[in-house]
């Protein structure tokens, strides 16, 4: 395996798996380095339910991506390891892994993903204080069990409130970005809840609804028109508990211009996408820059798509900012192709 034949892919979520498969399909070697002991990234590790927009279960859809690379002779996989040091330069990288092994590669694809916002950083919304306040990730796990119940006492919730923009679009906590997918994920979740528990009414508290592109009618309109999700324009100030054990959602209804204190049984935080908490370390090891929010910075995109600030290193998926799975996969292909193209250029130079 020569340097000019190999692309190092860091991270095995949808973007990384797509990049590795692309490299392999183009006849080159892909070496995947994944810090977790399973492949699949956030959809698998966090136990997502049905994916947007395909409606396929995450374990099936992402599972296919995993078995595609596992069964490919051009792909080798290192699990539970990280890259601790990187030597060399474009065309001749040597990555040192935490298990002592070395990987030599001509180019590198970073598919290091994101970290879910930790709701504990918005204590006024009750996460960590009340058992019946959950995140979208936890709610997806509940959907996967096939039953919608309040964690506190197991009752079927009469009402579920989904709060949008938790950890997004909030200068108070230094998150000035829109996480892009939470609106769509929440409308999808509202439909899944109603499907499993028809007696439950779902309310979505929003500032704006950003179900972009074709997600508009497929998720937003459908959840409103067919699944009777109620959309309430109100930014929630506080979640508290009433003496009868139900949660109280406090805020101002922007459209009625009145304060509200509405009883709910379950409150779900539509958590945003943070930069990967390891990004400072990743930036240091790979010598790539971060943009102002802390995501991996991208080169100009018109002629250097998926490029980073460092030659020979490409980036794809949610590592560069909040991203949906389909786009991450497309970016993975794009980054994989860029990395392989570099190998050809290097072969010519050597040959």
């Amino acid at each position: 395996m020569s340097v000019q034949d190999t692309v190092l892919v860091v991270g095995a979520g949808p973007a990384g798996l797509s990049a590795a498969a692309t490299v392999a399909a183009m006849g080159k070697k892909a070496v995947i380095v994944e810090k977790e002991d399973v492949l699949g990234g956030a959809p698998i590790i966090s136990g997502y339910a049905k994916l947007v927009p395909s409606g396929e279960w995450a374990k099936d859809a992402i599972g296919r991506m995993v078995s595609r690379v596992e069964g490919d002779g051009n792909v080798s996989i290192h699990k539970s390891v990280k890259v601790t040091e990187l030597d060399g330069e474009a065309g001749n990288f040597t990555a040192h892994l935490s298990d002592g092994k070395k990987v030599e590669a001509g180019s590198i694809v970073l598919a290091t993903g994101f970290t879910h916002f930790d709701s504990i950083n918005k204590p006024e919304w009750g996460f960590g204080t009340y058992e019946d306040v959950l995140t979208t990730t936890q709610m997806e796990q509940m959907v996967a069990t096939g039953q919608i119940r309040c964690p506190s006492d197991g009752r079927v919730p009469e009402r579920v409130a989904i709060l949008l923009c938790v950890g997004s679009r909030d200068r108070q906590i230094g998150r000035e970005w829109c996480s892009k997918i939470c609106c769509t994920v929440s409308t999808n979740l509202a439909m899944e809840i109603k499907e499993l528990s028809p007696s439950t009414d779902v309310f979505i508290y929003y500032m704006d609804i950003r179900t972009f592109g074709l997600y508009e009618d497929k998720f937003y309109w459908k959840s409103q028109e067919e699944f009777k999700t109620k959309f309430v324009k109100a930014r929630i100030a506080e979640v508290t508990k009433s003496p009868d054990g139900r949660l109280l959602v406090k805020g101002e209804d922007t459209l009625v211009k009145r304060p509200i204190v509405i009883p709910m049984d379950l409150v779900v935080h539509a958590i945003g996408m943070d930069p990967n908490v390891l990004n400072p370390e990743i930036a240091k090891v790979f010598g790539v820059g971060l943009e102002k929010h802390g995501f991996i910075d991208r080169a100009e995109q018109y002629t250097n798509s998926q490029g980073t600030t460092r030659k020979g290193i490409y980036v794809c998926g949610a590592a560069t900012g909040p991203e949906d799975i389909d786009t991450s996969i497309a970016q993975g292909q794009s980054a994989g192709a860029r990395a392989v193209a570099d190998l050809f250029v290097q072969q010519k130079a050597v040959g």
């Binding site: 959309f231 324009k233 459209l255 009625v256 009145r258 509405i262």
Partner: protein, 239 residues
């Protein structure tokens, strides 16, 4: 302390006794003013379904509050309190008390249908206005309209006699709506009729008014019909 900016507060939220003595202290008037909170403490999610059960209201759940209806509204241009977008929101969440504050202007919709033509979600706001006005009327929040009075008189005669008598319908309608029985147009109509001397017709009308003919073997049919209509209505609006 007296409240200086009372004009900013909804009058029905100001609670005040003109004469009140507490423990021998006179706290009449401003001295006992209390203000009830503005907070909305619950929704009535089923209210939307009730409005949807009235003809025209079927699509109210589709609204996403873009405001195109209010923007295009003929009545809104005359009266900024006439706000279909807002009422639709109240209906969707079941904020009935808020809706009832505007009960006396909702009927003002002129059915120009500009809202219905512009609505991007096909809510048909004009229909929602109609449905809401009907709900308000049927539940006694607004007085019965003339057309409702007419319908009731007409239906009453159908059920009672198995047929209607034009003169009786008009008389009943005038009585129900508190109008004089002799009106200018009737006098004109009578004069016009008299020119042609339709004696047979006049005699028939006169006799019918006195003897009130009934459809043969009508029996309990009217009763049964009335029960059926009532059951149908209940099934539609409360089922």
């Amino acid at each position: 302390m007296a409240i200086h900016e009372k004009t900013l507060i909804d009058p029905d939220r100001i609670l005040q006794h003109d004469h009140l003595v507490v423990d021998g202290v006179d706290v009449s008037g401003s001295w006992n003013t209390m203000i009830s909170p503005r907070t909305l403490v619950d929704y009535e999610p089923d209210f939307e379904k009730i409005i949807q059960s009235y003809s025209g209201g079927e699509n109210v759940h589709r609204c996403w509050q873009c405001g195109s209806c209010t923007n295009s509204c003929t009545m809104y241009a005359q009266n900024v309190d006439f706000n279909p977008r807002y009422w639709i929101y109240l209906i969707r969440l079941g904020l009935k008390a808020e809706l009832l504050k505007d009960k006396d202007i909702i009927w003002q919709c002129v059915s120009c249908n500009k809202c219905t033509n512009i609505c991007p979600k096909d809510v048909r706001p004009e229909g929602v206005m109609k449905a809401t006005a009907h709900w308000l009327e049927e539940n006694g929040y607004t007085p019965k309209s003339f057309s409702t009075h007419f319908d009731e008189e007409f239906t009453h005669q159908c059920l009672e006699y198995g047929r209607i008598e034009d003169t009786e319908v008009m008389i009943g309608f005038f009585k129900r709506t508190g109008q004089p029985l002799v009106q200018t147009w009737i006098v004109q109509f009578g004069k016009g009729l008299a020119k042609h001397l339709p004696l047979g017709q006049l005699a028939k009308m006169g006799l019918n008014t006195i003897f009130r003919p009934k459809t043969k073997s009508w029996g309990r049919t009217g009763e049964v019909l009335a029960e059926y209509v009532k059951a149908q209505k209940e099934a539609v609006h409360h089922g």
